[in-house]
């Protein structure tokens, strides 16, 4: 009986270690900050993208904000919406430009019809 508990404890311990190791992504700090879409979106205002260093973020358009979480994987930003969609954002120009693939898939080059390009807003700007 004691042996069984030890086995179970070993399995649970390993699960926790795996989860902790698996949850570690790349550093977010190079990309944390505020961004604004280069073009107005949907014929209205620009989209404001706020990537907070703690992995949370907001997409604000026409006065309405949508929260999401984000992480960095293989140099790309992965935005996770509450609904389960993933928007993959490819950085360019040293992280000052972000191209968001709005198809909820990843395509090499970000399809022009579904691509929203953001530029970093200088701090205090």
């Amino acid at each position: 009986m004691k042996k069984d508990f030890l086995k179970l404890a070993a399995v649970l311990g390993l699960i926790m270690v795996c989860l902790v190791l698996g949850g570690c992504g790349e550093s977010r700090s190079p990309f944390a900050g505020k961004y604004r879409s280069v073009e107005p979106f949907a014929g209205k205002s620009h989209v404001d993208l706020d990537l907070k260093a703690d992995g949370k973020g907001t997409w604000t358009h026409a006065g309405k904000s949508t929260d999401f979480t984000w992480m960095v994987n293989e140099g790309r930003i992965w935005i996770y919406t509450k609904t389960g969609a993933i928007v993959i954002v490819s950085p360019g120009n040293g992280g000052n430009l972000l191209s968001a693939d709005m198809t909820a898939d990843w395509h090499p080059g970000c399809p022009p019809s579904s691509c929203v390009v953001f530029r970093r807003v200088p701090e205090g700007g």
């Binding site: 969609a85 909820a104 898939d105």
Partner: protein, 479 residues
């Protein structure tokens, strides 16, 4: 020879007039005195030192039987039975022995009934002890090979409990059953009525599926508002509607429901909540491809991001699959151990890539269109935990046969899903490792078949490095 037997053996040996018999030999530590299978020529009495008695199989598995010290003897079994040596003996340390020839031994037995009785007694004792050992080993092996329902209940139960508990505390938690108890307040429209409105240009058609599905096939003239991107893309859709001539008088017909998720009903509800008027969904949600003119591009493989290490490791089972074609390797328990580690690593990688974001994985499950909508979230919650638990069980050597069965069953399900997706040209990613990971193609099927074959090999031949009923079993097991 048991501890309690030693004093009596010693007394018997002490009683022998050894000075008149045999010859004294000194053997260094590690020297082989008797070799299993040889013809017997001598009986040995230990005067000083220690020796080890062991048996060895043809494939090198060694079983240590006992250690003998001063005052005991060995080599009598083969002399009495006339059979080849039943075990090997080597010196543990430098030992002094009396080496008695067969003729002298026979003479000794003829004239020393006390020794003869002792040897008979000794052999009987060994027979009884040997039977007990045999029984214990058989019981152990049978238990090791047993797969009980408890093993499956343990692994599946642990996965379900972990999935449910972690989901409660997960920031990205999902309901156990999507849209459970949500009342449908969206009016439905028949295909005939929808066709009529479409022909009269009185309808705005909206496809609620992911853009990859839309791009592949959609109703001509429809626009795409993927439900999963509703919060982000609604303003663009709103703008499009506002630009449409006579939009206020037109009916918005939402379509794109699937067996696994009614995207159409959910999107229609959201549009109504945004204040849009005249929003309806198709009654026969799967009938539109036959009822409307279609647009779209020819099917093509979905784009995917590279997977890194797990993607390469997945090829190992295919290599092992080829090795398994060689019969001696096929039966190797060492191959089973290697297979366990590889499969464990692959399945733990599978699990970790999706375990904390069940909503993303649920959408992957929906993409295949094989799971009824009530089961999607349950499957998306439990499967990654099952992969993790079973993977760990395989690596740790716990209930490995049951673990191999479960991984094999998962592989069969994956293979069926992949083949179905290939035949239906679904524009989806596998969703196996990584979230926007591998494409669905025959290579992926091959990898899964390789893993399935490994599961079968583990099920049949795994027996080393297992922490199972009866303790940890290493290769060189002391009986």
């Amino acid at each position: 020879m048991t501890e309690e037997q030693k004093p009596s053996a010693s007394k018997v040996v002490d009683g022998l007039k050894l000075g008149q018999l045999g010859q004294e030999v000194v053997v260094p530590a590690g020297a082989r005195i008797v070799t299993q299978g040889e013809s017997p020529e001598f009986f040995y009495v230990i005067q000083a030192g220690r020796v080890k008695v062991f048996r060895e199989t043809a494939d090198g598995i060694r079983t240590d039987l006992t250690e003998l010290a001063m005052g005991t003897y060995f080599g009598e079994v083969a002399l009495v039975t006339g059979q080849p040596r039943t075990a090997s003996v080597e010196a543990v340390e430098e030992s002094r022995l009396i080496k008695v020839s067969k003729e002298e031994f026979d003479h000794l037995l003829d004239h020393n009934p006390q020794l003869a009785r002792h040897i008979i007694n000794q052999l009987s004792q060994w027979l009884v002890v040997g039977d007990r050992r045999l029984e214990s080993e058989v019981v152990h092996q049978v238990k090791l090979r047993q797969v009980s329902w408890f093993d499956y209940v343990l692994m599946i139960g642990l996965s379900i409990i972990l999935a449910l508990v972690v989901n409660i505390y997960n920031d990205n938690r999902i309901p156990l059953i999507h849209d459970w108890g949500v009342k449908n307040d969206v009016p439905l429209i028949s295909l005939g009525q929808a066709q009529e409105l479409y022909k009269q240009n009185q309808a705005i058609l909206v496809d609620a599926r992911k853009s990859a599905f839309f791009n592949q096939e959609h109703i001509k003239g429809a626009s795409n508002l993927p439900l999963i991107l509703f919060d982000l893309m609604y303003p663009l859709f709103q703008f499009t509607v506002e630009q449409t001539q006579g939009a206020k008088d037109k009916t918005i017909i939402v379509y794109g429901g699937t067996f696994s998720r009614r995207f159409d009903l959910e999107l229609a509800r959201l549009l109504k909540h945004k204040g849009m008027q005249k929003v309806v969904a198709l009654q026969d949600y799967r009938g539109w491809p036959k009822a409307f003119p279609l647009g779209g591009q020819a099917p093509k493989e979905a784009a995917s991001l590279p997977l890194g290490l797990p993607g390469y490791v997945e090829w190992v089972p295919v290599g092992i699959f080829l090795l398994i074609l060689i019969p001696p390797i096929r039966r190797s328990p060492y191959l089973a151990v290697v297979g366990r580690v590889i499969l464990g690593f692959i399945f733990i990688s599978f699990a970790l890539s999706k375990i904390m974001r069940p909503a993303v994985f649920a959408l992957n499950v929906v993409d295949y269109g094989m799971m009824p909508s009530w089961g999607v979230n349950l499957w998306a919650l439990v499967l990654p935990w099952a992969e993790l638990v079973v993977g760990l069980f395989l690596i740790l050597g716990i209930r490995t046969r049951a673990a191999a069965t479960l991984i094999g069953a998962m592989n069969i399900i994956f293979i069926v899903g992949l083949v179905d997706a290939i035949f239906h040209h679904l524009p989806i990613n596998c969703g196996c490792v990584g979230e926007v990971g591998e494409p669905v193609n025959w290579w992926k099927v091959t990898k899964n078949v390789g893993m399935l074959v490994m599961c079968i090999q583990i099920f049949l031949y795994d027996r080393f490095l297992v922490l199972d009923r009866g303790g940890f079993i290493l290769r060189d097991r002391k009986i």
